[in-house]
Subunit: 685 residues, 2 copies
């Protein structure tokens, strides 16, 4: 009977009738050999480690592996030493990480030589922008795993607990050890009893996998749920309220991680509401968390509507406070000075805050990069960030080294990624979006990994063991071209969305399609694309040179001078830093206008090539994932056309120049695109 | 003051602010010299001739031209003899035609040498599919010029009369001399008093321009408006009713042209309703019209739902009656055996009916060729028809020669074009659609003209004298590329819609977008695309060879054998005549499936090139027409993408073969296209 059932499964799989829903991510079931695991520790974490080894073993059948918790100076934090026979670590979770590394290497057929693996950052956290009603801000993969409007939040169901366990295991497999469970635009209700009970339930499931929970707090909670008259951080009543709240939390969740705070930003309350500073606010919270080992992640994403250049504001506001924050405060800085655009220069705060702990925040969810529709592998963007040289302590002061403790002593080092997961069966809404979750974890663990290596791993783990073995044929005809596609994909998105330093020319609100024209009366200028592109008959681009907003001055030399001169400024940031005439001569020999046209055309062509690449690998992919990805690529190609047409036709109104006749012509009319967008924004009108 | 006003106009024109609405068609205002016209005739027609000469003269300033009505054996019907000093004709309208020819030659800078110009067909008629409520069946340029729901039809307004005059002048300028004023799916109300009064009013305005009016009649009119018990053509009461009606008509309109009849076709009543034949019906009407010189144009567009091959039915139904019709009956035969498809073989009735007058019916309105959106110059299609050799009287028995009296003696020769005009300011909904009205008139006058020459004339007349003179620069950089675009345009449409002999794979009802899948339950099979494409795992195409429906047998040898063998059948009709396996070897060396893919891709590419061509001529065209055409070409390109994607993805379900990887991939999903189409057909469901 069992045999017949297995036979049936085999038939189903062979015929492609077994739905490949993508739920198992990079942790796919596979044929295993047997392994003897030597392990004296009986903790839940080690039990998981043993189980993972047994159910994932791809090494020599009947081999032995020893799991050993033993201090070693070469091993830092939750690092481990791995050999083909032994995993050694300082901590239990270090052992589990070693197990996942071992299994990954077996599956990807990478050598297993004795080596120590240490994490780049102590805290490697997902930020979930999940609201208590179950919606997810900038989420494109369904509702929240944690919250929901019609749920009894105090009593998780077995299905929820199972899903949280899968979530925990998946994160642990790539080294993620922190989860901020709710949106940075936080509800004060997070600090109420029922919700905290649910946080506890989640924490209990995540704990064996080494994951601490954090919550985003609303700074005005003392008023909103505490009944106080204000939330002034220097008001002793307020500090007392927070202290008691923190005690309550730690009673419930002894290993609670701490708070994430978005204060005085985009309408959120903060210490400035009472004439206090970010330091006042952050330190007050840090003080109450400190006795329990908790931390405050305080976001530097701030900008007022009255300044001339939004890109300068976080720096201007935070630099004066350098050295004034407690050692358990970490300033969380978005990768770029504006907001997760397809391409930005690195935020000038990196490396500049020399006496303050700083952590990078990147966005895994594709708010500005095609949501869960466009295939955009973000690792290359993060690699670009991490390897950016700030020059703050001489050449080689990369963002990675300025944040991971290599250059500045930080009590805590950390990195955060805004999660892209939800209740969609495949977690991320798009099969390839899973690679961004994977890549974030891998880079958080080791910020020197290359995107190429991460893509290689992910493809082998995710697509390698399904329809075909990792044969030479598979490597040559699937792995190589699809990896190339992934590595090119972010640059393609930059090309068809906003090349040459263009930024934030999205249509309003949803940050998906183009809207360079969008500027309704009465709205803050810095929420409208014309503020960012500054197109006129004279030219295009935001002048951040010394002649303009002087944002270049926030960068350390030689960058300030390099960015300041259009001739030395990297062309992929040209319009970020400069307003230039349409006939400005580019390195290609083309005018700026022609170059813009060519860049968009290149993006279009790249997506077309991605389609071809994918269609060619059909036989190496199960039918479900093949069709899903094929459909998304078609959608992406249509969107790229709309980007191309909208931006070229809009900017052409200012440039008054023809699109070079070698290029394909727009297929959409600008008026119709604007009207379609207006209808999206104002349905029924 | 006058000077200032003219100066203003000059400024407006120069700045492109003078709206180029396309209303003046190919009869544009221009600078003229003076001319002395010698003419003794004072008729309205000659008065028009003189006026046209004076307001359009482009010859030597102060030259003289004599208009002379004098019989000449070399001049037939309304032909004329033209020299640089004289126009001679048998008839007044012949003089007017001569004037238009002279002015055209002046404007297009063609030589004016002494030569006789005779019309190929005596009757050159537009068929207006205009309904009495003002709608136009298959009309894409607004409401009817003649009818309307809320109008007092008995009392035309001055504006209406002015428009009818412009209509008459435009037709006369290209030799059109007949207008069927209402839809072939006729209302019986056409024969009622008020309507006939309006027909008279129209006829009065058209008369000086040499245009006779005709009406489509409903065969059941004796019952519907006559109060008779039946409309049996052999019922003497019925014949009497028609006789009296015809007398009434001729009392009102002495030069009335006659009736156009769609009988026993697509639900229209006819003689078969009483067990009578087409001969019985047509001859009865012919007999009552004969005393007044009226004719009956009887349509051969018939097909029942019970036959296996719709393409064979008109031939099967009409051939037995050859020789049985009165000499004032003309059988009106659509160009192809099915229905105005982008490409069909010629109808086998041409040349086969040797003892019956036969007239071709072509469709100027683009029912199956992109409505008033796609730029498709139809002259090449009609040229293909007219030059098709039927072999019925040996080699060289072209459709043109079989219908214009060259081969068969016909008392009347005629050609009809289903009009594409309406109340839209530019008459045709699309500037380039005007060229099809022009081309129909020119080919009806001279069925040996080439499409190249007609396009050349039309472009010079329509675009040549506006923003730029007919300089060498204009000819090289506007005329040559745009003419090439026009000449390629119909083949491009075939390529992206239904290449290789595909036909009638349109979505239901509107005959605009693709719908190869459309086949709701319970509908007549021959109204659904799968009936026509016959796609299955085995192959695709309609088998009309001897092994199949044997439609090839309706063609004269050597055509029957040529069409019968896939190896000799023209590839552009291959799937019309044959059902072939997907891997059938084409002359290109490709499989049939690959060739289909390449043909669609070629069509896409052609439209893309049309866009480039048009964009490149921007400086030679006024801004209004430039933008309008540019917008339509963008729409056409989007539509071509939808055709490509819909057809390839649909047929791929049967072929199970990949689209060749050299080709760009589809951008739309089949399911979504089908769903979009379903919503169009069933809005709100």
């Amino acid at each position: 009977m069992k045999r017949t059932f297995l036979g049936l499964i085999l038939v189903l799989v062979t015929c492609g009738l077994w739905a490949e829903d993508g739920h198992s991510l990079w942790l796919r079931k596979k044929e295993t050999g047997t392994v003897n695991v030597v392990c004296s520790d009986k903790s839940p974490t080690l039990a998981i480690a043993v189980q993972e080894l047994k159910q994932g073993w791809q090494g020599i059948d009947g081999a032995s592996i020893t799991l050993k918790i033993k201090k070693d100076k070469a091993i830092r934090n939750d690092g481990f030493k791995l050999s083909s026979t032994e995993i050694q670590a300082n901590t239990r979770i270090g052992i589990l990480y070693g197990v996942y590394e071992l299994l990954r290497r077996q599956q990807t057929e990478e050598a297993i030589e004795e080596k120590v693996y240490n994490p780049s950052y102590q805290i490697r956290a997902l930020n979930h922008w999940d609201n208590l009603d179950g919606t997810i801000e900038r989420g494109y993969a369904g509702y929240s795993l944690f919250w929901g409007k019609d749920k009894n939040l105090s009593v998780p169901t077995d299905a929820e607990k199972q899903l949280w366990k899968e979530y925990a295991r998946t994160n642990a497999s790539i080294g993620i050890n922190g989860a901020v469970l709710n949106n940075v635009n936080a509800s004060a209700d997070m600090l109420t009893g029922g919700i905290l009970q649910r946080v506890k339930a989640i924490a209990d499931i995540l704990r064996p996998y080494g994951i601490k929970v954090y919550i985003s707090i609303k700074f005005s909670s003392p008023v909103a749920v505490g009944g106080l008259k204000n939330s002034d951080p220097l008001n002793p009543e307020v500090a007392k309220w927070w202290k008691e709240k923190v005690i309550e939390i730690y009673k419930t969740i002894p290993d609670f991680g701490g708070f994430l705070v978005k204060a005085n930003s985009e309408g959120q309350p903060g210490p400035q509401d009472y004439g206090r500073t970010h330091v006042d606010g952050a330190n007050m919270l840090a003080d109450v968390l400190k006795p329990f080992g908790g931390i405050v992640m305080w976001r530097a994403f701030v900008y007022a509507s009255n300044d001339k250049d939004r890109a300068k504001q976080a720096y201007n506001e935070f630099m004066p406070f350098d050295g004034k924050f407690r050692d358990n405060v970490i300033i969380q800085v978005k990768n770029g000075p504006i907001d997760f655009q397809p391409r930005e220069p690195f935020s000038p705060l990196f490396g500049a805050m020399k006496k303050t702990s700083v952590m990078p925040e990147v966005q895994i969810t594709q708010e500005y990069l095609g949501h869960s529709i466009h295939l955009v592998y973000l690792s290359t963007m993060w690699e670009e960030l991490l390897n950016s040289d700030t020059y703050q302590q001489g050449k080689g002061s990369t963002v990675a080294r300025c944040t991971d403790g290599s250059i500045y002593p930080q009590k805590y080092t950390a990195i955060a990624g805004v999660s892209n997961i939800g209740l969609d069966r495949n977690w991320c809404g798009l099969d390839f979006a899973q690679s961004n979750w994977y890549a974030f974890g891998r880079l958080a663990w080791d910020n020197q990994l290359t995107s190429e290596q991460i893509a290689d791993e992910w493809l082998k783990l995710t697509f390698g063991n399904v329809a075909s073995p990792q044969s030479a044929d598979w490597k040559q005809n699937f792995l190589v071209p699809v990896k190339q596609l992934m590595l090119e994909s972010r640059e393609a998105a930059v090309n068809y969305m906003m090349p040459l330093g263009f930024h934030h020319i999205f249509s309003a609100d949803e940050h998906y399609g183009p809207g360079p024209w969008w500027a309704p009366k009465g709205i803050r200028a810095d929420w409208t694309p014309p503020y960012y592109h500054q197109a006129s008959a004279n030219g295009v681009g935001f002048d951040r040179a010394r002649t303009g907003s002087d944002a270049v001055e926030q960068y350390h030399e030689p960058l300030a001078s390099k960015f300041n001169d259009p001739k030395t400024c990297p062309e992929n940031l040209l319009l970020w830093f400069h307003h230039l005439p349409w006939d400005y001569q580019m390195k290609s020999g083309r005018t700026l206008w022609d170059e813009i046209c060519y860049q968009y055309a290149t993006g279009l062509e790249q997506v077309g090539e991605f389609q071809k690449t994918w269609d060619k690998v059909e036989k190496y992919v199960d039918v479900d994932r093949f069709i899903r990805v094929q459909g998304k690529l078609r959608h992406q190609r249509r969107d790229a056309q709309i980007w191309n047409d909208a931006c070229l036709l809009y900017f052409q109104k200012f440039s008054k120049r023809p699109i070079p006749y070698q290029l394909d012509r727009p297929q959409n009319d600008l008026d119709q695109l604007i009207e379609n967008d207006r209808r999206r924004l104002h349905p029924g009108k």
